[in-house]
Amino acid sequence: MQALYAQLLVGLINGSFYALLSLGLAVIFGMLNIINFAHGALYMMGAFCAYFLLNIGGINYWWALLLAPIIVGIFGMILERTLLQWLTGLDHLYGLLLTFGIALIVQGLFQNYFGSSGLPYAIPDQLRGGMNLGFMFLPIYRGWVVVFSLVICVATWFLIERTRLGAYLRAATENPTLVRAFGINVPRMITLTYGLGVGLAALAGVLSAPINQVRPLMGADLIIVVFAVVVIGGMGSIMGSIITGFALGVIEGLTKYFYPEASNTVVFVLMVLVLLVKPTGLTGRAA
């Protein structure tokens, strides 16, 4: 039973990353009509950012948790201003191709300088050790990742669904021209939205740095799984992305325990099943 709980925990952690990443993808897709293929690369940059902050600047984990998403988010906003904004009015597929190119550039550059092996990032002192819950041993850092991700996900949901800024954002998603007519600076909102989505990816990167090590290709395979998560959940609803992300992480964890051979593929198999039964995705509207 110990092993089962441990795999469930791993599943929840992976689910947190799926949720944070697919949330960002959904927010970006809503505003920019772009599937951000660079999301995995930006997640990796978040982790590297934390690594640099610690090893060069001597800035600890807690500040990295705040600074890395801001730094990478600004990088994302620069990308949006210099490259992505020229895609307006073109077929959606060009957005996929352009961001794929960006991902190749970023990952290639990091591989050039850091190789493909992992760099260690220590768990902060306050989160070391573990707790005995009676039925299992819980490493504190892992519990922290799950709880903190959940808080961030819900906060993002609240920001978009319950605040005035979020209302503007949802309105601009539906009809940007009309929202502009009300005097709201939609291009600036688009840039900020991209920054927000990218910041969420970078945050996931910082959270994963102590668990998965910091590697140039850490986001490359992850983003494909997240795409499958997005296909399963659909991008219509924020809460849908969050729940799907966590649920799939848990299912993956269970698979690791009961049938480890399929743990790499279970999300993709589920995607196939969902497509056969409900092609629009679990929460999605018809695209």
């Binding site: 597929l93 190119g101 290639g108 550059l109 050039n112 296909v231 993709f268 056969l276």
Partner: protein, 322 residues
């Protein structure tokens, strides 16, 4: 919203005549390659990728479906052929057929699943399916995991054509490429191809005209996947191995890149693109990951400033269909 291929010239007898002339020139140029001192291995490899990119282009350029998983056909056909040749000891012609059959079956299954969604979702689904297959091939014993299937015998085609001679192999690959190319060319210029283009331009209208668009898209997908598989089978004879690289997502990305550079939705673009990208990899082989970086830069540059691609720009300049 402009479509991914923004101008379609009508198929006129003149356009088809122009394209046939260019085809004959291309075939003639490729036929004299062994006498020019060019490295035949390089050209053979480029031909396999050219056919692969042409098959991919049939889907994106004429059906508007961007597959981000076409490497799965390359890899699957490669593994099937390699297994048939090495383990079962089949002759080359049957080895190729085994590869094509594998890709055919795979394209029916994955096509049935992926055409349920359009646009961006189609790309994500094909990518996810090819990743699924990648992990399957990583774990199943017959592919030999990370090692791949090595040292595949080339054998004698139809019992008398010795494929271990580079020049002979070159002409066999060339004939295979030209046959596949002509099949795609014929498809594009057929009534079927016309319907496909109408689906790309406006699927709703095609449906309202009574076309069962899902069947057309599935058929195009199967055709594209099977021809891609043929390219994968040919590549087995050239490279004499079948490995996980051929199923990896980065390979799918390279196929997209070749077609993008040459020109999406142009007849000859994927061929030009394949030669450009393979040549680039050849010359930059010593620079490690810079190849990836440069590929990324080409992606970005093509999307932002060069969406017609090499052949598309030329065709636009002369107002011809190429």
């Amino acid at each position: 919203m402009t479509s991914i291929t923004d101008e379609t010239l009508p198929i006129t007898p003149r356009a088809v005549r122009d394209e046939m002339i260019v085809f004959v020139i291309m075939a003639a140029l490729l036929a004299i390659v062994p006498f020019t001192g060019l490295y035949p291995f390089f050209v053979m490899q480029a031909l396999c990728f050219a056919l692969l990119a042409c098959a991919f282009n049939l889907l994106i350029g004429y059906g508007g479906l961007l597959s981000f998983g076409h490497a799965m056909f390359l890899g699957t056909a490669g593994y099937c052929s390699a297994h048939a040749l090495k383990v079962w000891g089949l002759p080359p012609e049957l080895g190729i057929l085994t590869g094509i059959a594998g890709a055919f079956v795979l394209s029916i299954i994955t096509g049935y699943i992926s055409i349920r969604r359009q646009g961006i979702y189609f790309s994500m689904i094909t990518l996810a399916l090819s990743q699924l297959l990648y992990f399957v091939y990583l774990q199943t014993p017959f592919t030999h995991g990370e090692d791949g299937i090595q040292g595949i015998p080339q054998g004698r085609l139809f019992g008398f054509i010795d494929l271990s001679k580079p020049t002979t192999l070159y002409y066999v690959v060339l004939v295979g490429f030209l046959a596949g190319f002509l099949l795609i060319f014929r498809t594009i210029n057929s009534p079927f191809g016309e319907v496909l283009k109408s689906i790309r331009e406006n699927e709703q209208r095609a449906i309202s005209l009574g076309y069962k668009t899902d069947q057309y898209k599935l058929l195009a997908y199967i055709l594209s996947g099977t021809i891609a598989g043929f390219a994968g089978s040919l590549k087995v004879f050239v490279a004499q191995n079948a490995s996980l690289t051929d199923v990896h997502w980065s390979m799918s990305g390279e196929i997209v890149l070749m077609t993008l550079v040459g020109g999406l939705g142009t007849v000859f673009g994927p061929v030009v693109g394949a030669f450009v990208i393979i040549a680039m990899q050849q010359y930059l082989a010593g620079f490690g990951q810079w190849v990836t970086v440069i590929q990324g830069v080409i992606f970005v540059a093509c999307v932002l400033t060069f969406r017609r691609g090499v052949v598309g720009e030329i065709a636009h300049l002369f107002k011809r269909s190429l």
